[in-house]
């Protein structure tokens, strides 16, 4: 009798849980290719006196492999093409592409290679890796939250902070913050 009540309560609790939370990283095992059309890599840099500089990268490619036996052995690889940076203001885009910031002509790729994935909850993980930009490589961390899994398509929300001074992109500090806030929505297709 008691067991039955507990059983019903457990079913009710499951139904009450948000749909997204029901998606478990364990069920997501597999290799995915990031689909740029349904993904976005946005960034924001705060500035003194309030507000900030917001932008996004239009071109990038990436792959996510979630290990079926051990999420910690998963792998994330990413390449961003800084030439595709966009802020809505052409003169700022040209400045960002120039040797003042990305030097896109000489360093056409920004790369991220994960070194470890640490699971922090059923749906979240801390992705550590090595970020290379303008010939400089440093360890960076990003938080990934599983947003959905449906028919071989996986969705992640990834956030993280990167210090741009490390990559020789400290122009404009302290007027513009040294911290770049990344906010990415990544959709991957299995296979």
């Amino acid at each position: 009798m008691y067991a039955r009540i507990f059983g019903l309560a457990a079913v009710a609790a499951c139904l009450a849980m948000p749909v997204l939370a029901a998606v478990d990283l364990n069920d997501a095992a597999g290799s995915y290719t990031v689909n740029p059309a349904s993904s976005s890599i946005r960034f924001s840099i705060g500035k003194v006196g309030g507000g900030g500089l917001d932008g996004a990268f239009g071109r990038f490619k990436g792959s996510i492999r979630i290990d079926n036996s051990d999420v910690g052995r998963s792998q994330v690889n990413f390449t961003i093409y800084p030439e595709s940076v966009g802020t809505g203001q052409g003169r700022i885009d040209a400045f960002l592409r120039s040797d003042a910031v990305f030097d896109a002509a000489n360093s056409p790729e920004i790369q991220f290679r994960s070194t470890s994935v640490t699971r922090t909850s059923d749906t979240t993980a801390l992705v550590s890796g090595r970020l290379t930009a303008r010939g400089k490589t440093f360890a960076e961390k990003f938080t990934a939250e599983l947003g959905g899994l449906k028919g071989g398509t996986i969705k992640f929300h990834v956030t993280g902070k990167v210090l741009r001074s490390r990559y020789g992109m400290d122009v404009g500090t302290p007027i513009y913050s040294n911290i770049v806030d990344f906010d990415m929505t990544l959709t991957g297709k299995k296979g």
Binding site: K47, V48, G49, G51, Q89, R91, I92, A94, F95, S98, D99, A100, V101, V171, G172, P174, I175
Partner: protein, 192 residues
């Protein structure tokens, strides 16, 4: 004899002299900096020099407000008796124009950064955030103030050149005290 801070009937005090040369040097430096910063290929150096130009511009604006207040509360010494009638009438106009340019140039620069679509904050010498003037941002307003700042700069530097030539004429040709009294301050031993 003690150098005096205030002007007297025939000579400038050291406050007026220091403000004159400080503003003059920064003004000419700002013209040179402005000329160079928009012609660089390195966007990074250009950005940094433009921020430096803005910093000195705000410093100039502060100094010129101080200078105008000092001038209003401290009459300028009379011109030497040898100065002729035409120059006696035009020199005050030239000086008034110089003051007008000293005010208009930093103000037009401030207006330019205030209306710019780039929305780059002003932080003089990285010390504090200088608010923008309450003007509406637009590409058209930015073009207008950029042109105004440019024309004022060239007209201003021409006026400075005229002013310097006039001073040299007084010193080497007319051999009067007009230039030297802007170098050696008044003192309490002056005969007025």
């Amino acid at each position: 004899m003690q150098a005096s801070i205030t002007n007297n009937a025939t000579r400038y005090g050291w406050a007026a002299i220091v403000l004159h040369w400080l503003i003059g040097i920064i003004f000419i430096g700002q013209f040179a900096l402005g000329f160079v910063m928009v012609r660089l290929t390195s966007q990074r150096t250009a950005f940094e020099l433009i921020q430096l130009h803005k910093s000195f511009g705000f410093l100039l604006l502060g100094l010129i407000i101080l200078r105008i207040a000092w001038r209003l509360g401290n009459a300028a010494p009379a011109l030497p008796a040898s100065v002729g009638g035409l120059e006696r009438r035009t020199a005050p106009l030239a000086h008034l124009a110089l003051y007008a340019f000293q005010l208009a140039l930093p103000l037009s620069g401030w207006a330019l950064v205030s209306v710019s679509m780039l929305e780059i904050p002003s932080m003089p010498f990285n010390l504090f955030v200088m608010p923008n003037l309450p003007l509406v941002e637009s590409d058209a307003a930015e073009s207008f103030w950029a042109a105004a700042h440019w024309y004022l700069a060239y007209a201003g530097i021409a006026l400075v050149a005229l002013h310097a030539l006039a001073a040299l004429r007084h010193h080497f040709w007319l051999r009067d005290s007009v230039l030297t009294r802007m170098i050696t301050p008044s003192s309490d031993g002056d005969v007025e």
